[in-house]
């Protein structure tokens, strides 16, 4: 009997399970797309898929987040660090709506994600059934594409198309809504896992780079006296870092990156002017403002980069390369618009360039170096053994750079300081909710990055506000054995909003203090630079989740405390108490120009 059972099992394996249901087919289709990890939180309408996941546990790791938003941010962390499609799953109704912020985030930052939601059975759709939301309707504008599966035989095709759409062209999130009756329906014949796709309107194949345009760009480079490379997330998505480095070195053109472009060019290279925009370096913003040629590669002229767009880079000719035609001329007219894959375009430029095309840039560099000497990134030492967040991040970089870590951030002051002071030399090491600016991104994104990169150092640089938005994922770190290090810059405030209160609202504190409302700080009447008692007690919280933690408030003790965290084998929360009086500088107020840059 036992032997017979074993035989049937092995037979069923070779035949890929003759009796399968829709959920089994979906999971098998995921595996055939190369999915090795899924972040999935079960519920009534997705239970059959979870049952199917247990049957494939040796081929596909299922990680249980503690909130669906944590699951989709983790899928983004996975995708952003690997370039592969990140996958998450949730049940219908509230499970699905909890994915909404993550889908919007992935859309804004062009991150390839496939999100699968359970849906009520087809006969209940439209009846306001228990846990029914029309999630496809909700998510149309915030997904690259979306499916509601209505026919059993469509399951493999929908999965194949979803992955193709998510990762090709300009990547983005794709939603698959999967009714429960189709999940449990039994297959009557062997499913075709590689069916033809039906996407007549989707043509993401990169357009060939036109040699005439390559010559046009090189002619503009040669004529320029003040060129600048303005590099965005497109350089990361098209894996263009190597060709970019080659082009930059050959031409000696200075390189500035957007928040999304961080890591596309080594930050420690002297040719890097670091980040530009609202909280970019003075020298990057001065340079782009004076430039006579903008090589805008894989960027979208976001308002956080340009400030007042009509005044942005007015002296310069613009070469705009992007693979999304709708970005060309959207915010800023380009003189040489090129719709192409950036890596291919840079390769074509590198192939075509000759010594004769090289511009003479000595004067330009001496101008830039003067700005750089006069206005480096800086902060003043307040003394009193306080840990300034900028210093803390510099120290983190000192202690971890040689371990080539992956770093995720939340949103706010700590995010900008991390972008400024952690020097990323390689692509896909930096994870930031940049376009959407979704607080709570850091911890789950780090968790996804750790799942994708086992054995690597993964750090969540977080603020106390952002951290609390997905703090439940500490449980996932413990239970799934993901040794993420949380570098918590705790200033007891929503620092970025507080900074704007200080600058534009006479420091009137409007719900930006995160402690008890009867504390003097809640109304801005506090006096201490850092507080004796902090709220909440993150060390106790972490310990409650089974995670090692400590608070550090002395600068003298900080390097050792940091080293202790970095040496810990498991997850760790380092609660770093920072003075809240620090502002992120420089700063170009929204809608203003580089002339209005605030330096102190």
């Amino acid at each position: 009997m036992a032997a017979e059972k074993a035989r049937t099992q092995s037979k069923s394996k070779t035949l890929q399970l003759p009796v399968v249901n829709g959920a089994d087919i979906l999971v098998e289709a995921l595996i055939r797309q190369g999915v090795d990890t899924i972040f999935a939180y079960p519920g009534g309408a997705s239970m059959p898929m979870h049952q199917a996941l247990t049957h494939q546990a040796d081929r596909l790791r299922t990680i249980l987040p503690r909130h669906e938003q944590g699951g989709i941010f983790a899928a983004e962390g996975y995708a952003r660090t690997t370039g592969k499609v990140g996958v998450c799953m949730a049940t219908s109704g509230p499970g699905a709506t909890n994915l909404v912020t993550g889908l919007a985030d992935a859309k804004m930052d062009s991150c390839p994600v496939v999100a699968i939601t359970g849906q009520v059975a087809k006969k209940f759709i439209g009846t306001d059934a228990f846990q029914e939301t029309p999630i496809v309707e909700v998510c149309r504008a915030i997904t690259k594409h979306h499916y509601l599966i209505t026919r059993f035989e469509d399951i493999p095709r929908v999965v194949k198309e979803a992955f193709y759409v998510a990762r090709s062209g300009r990547p983005g999130p794709v939603l698959i809504d999967f009714p429960k009756d189709l999940q449990t329906e039994k297959a009557s014949e062997h499913p075709d896992y590689d069916p033809p796709m039906n996407l007549p309107g989707y043509r993401p194949e990169p357009r060939p780079v036109n040699p005439a345009q390559v010559r046009q760009v090189l002619a503009a480079v040669k004529r320029s006296k003040k060129p600048i490379l303005y590099i965005g997330g497109g350089a990361i998505n098209s894996e263009a870092a190597a060709e970019l480095y080659k082009f930059a070195k050959r031409t000696n053109i200075p390189v500035t990156t957007t928040l999304m472009g961080i890591g596309a060019f080594p930050a420690r290279d002297p040719q890097s002017l670091h980040m530009l925009g609202m909280h970019g370096t003075v020298y990057a913003n001065f340079a782009i403002n004076s430039a006579d040629l903008l090589l805008a590669f894989g960027v979208r002229f976001d308002d956080r980069v340009t400030g007042k767009v009509s005044e942005f880079a007015t002296h310069g000719k613009i070469v705009h390369i992007d693979n999304d035609p709708s970005e060309i001329h959207k915010n800023k007219l380009a003189h040489i618009p090129i719709i192409a894959d950036l890596n291919e375009a840079l390769a074509a430029l590198n192939d075509a360039i000759t010594d004769d095309d090289l511009p003479e840039l000595d004067e330009w560099w001496s101008e830039i170096n003067e700005w750089r000497d006069k206005h480096p990134l800086r902060y003043s030492d307040p003394g009193h053994d306080l840990i300034l967040p900028q210093y803390a991040i510099e120290e983190l970089h000192r202690q971890t750079a040689d371990r080539d870590p992956f770093v995720a951030v939340g949103v706010g002051q700590h995010q900008m300081w991390a972008a400024q002071y952690y020097k990323f030399d390689r692509p896909r090491r930096w994870m930031s909710s940049s376009g959407l600016g979704a607080m709570g991104f850091g911890l789950p994104a780090a968790m996804g990055a750790q799942a994708a990169n086992p054995g690597k150092l993964v750090i969540d640089i977080d603020g106390d506000g952002s951290f609390q938005m997905n703090i439940q994922e500490l449980a996932t770190l413990t239970c799934e054995k993901l040794p993420v290090k949380v570098f918590l810059l705790n200033n007891q405030h929503l620092g970025m909003v507080m900074q704007w209160e200080d600058r534009f609202h006479k420091s009137n504190r409007a719900h930006t203090y995160l402690g008890p409302i009867d504390h003097p700080e809640a109304t801005g009447k506090g006096t201490a630079a850092i507080l004796d008692e902090t709220y909440p007690n993150f060390v106790k919280i972490a310990e409650g989740f089974g995670i090692q933690a400590r608070q550090v408030r002395s600068r003298k003790e900080f390097p050792k405390a940091l080293a202790e965290m970095l040496a810990a084998p498991g997850p760790y929360v380092l609660d770093i108490l920072c003075p809240y009086q620090e502002h992120v500088l420089p700063m170009i107020p929204g809608g203003h120009t580089v002339k209005d840059i605030i330096l102190e």
């Binding site: 509601l148 996407l199 989707y202 709708s326 007219l333």
Partner: protein
């Protein structure tokens, strides 16, 4: 400036919702939108009339093309095409005016499609200005109610727009505003 855009889209639920949502969320001003079946059961055709400058039109076209279920977008504006509106209009014929109305209906090559003791319903198709003129002429008799379709349009050519090559713009000319 007024532009007529024609889009072939996949004949699936939700495509119209997707497109109208995109137009609304990007604050594009659409004067008219008509949707209907085509000779190909897998495709529907949408005809848009868009008001705006070249830059707006360029964005509308590109954002439409970006939607996965949109198969082709063609800008008719600079081409030779036929465009039509259809209107059904109920006009009062109180006071023995039926023959007067009938005469005007003939002049406009419209058609009476329903008659009552004190009203007629007229069907008229044509270009927008003809329809507008007919409304003006009918106003003194008393317009009870009317309905107009959105604009529909087709290119004057032997080819089907489904077979036309997608507008390939590997090297788009810079718009005139850009000074090099």
């Amino acid at each position: 400036m007024r532009h007529v855009l024609s889009a072939l889209v996949m004949n699936q639920p939700g495509v119209l919702a997707h497109i109208s949502g995109m137009l609304a969320s990007r604050a594009f001003n659409i004067e008219s939108l008509a949707v209907g079946a085509t000779e190909n059961p897998e495709l529907s055709r949408m005809t848009f009339v868009v008001n705006g400058d070249e830059k707006t039109l360029d964005q509308v076209r590109k954002q439409l093309e970006k939607i996965v279920t949109v198969v082709r977008v063609i800008d008719f504006s600079k081409q030779n095409y036929v465009e039509r509106d259809l209107m059904l209009i109920k006009i009062s014929t109180e006071g023995g005016k039926r023959s007067e109305v009938h005469e005007l209906v003939d002049i406009f090559r419209a058609r009476i499609v329903d008659v009552g003791p004190s009203h007629v319903m007229v069907e008229i198709s044509g270009q927008e200005r003809k329809i507008d003129a007919f409304i003006d002429v009918m106003r003194p008799y008393g317009i009870i109610e009317l309905v107009r379709s959105g604009r529909v349009a087709l290119l004057r050519s032997a080819a089907s727009s489904e077979d036309l090559e997608a507008e390939d713009r590997p090297n788009p000319e810079p718009p005139p505003e850009a000074t090099v």
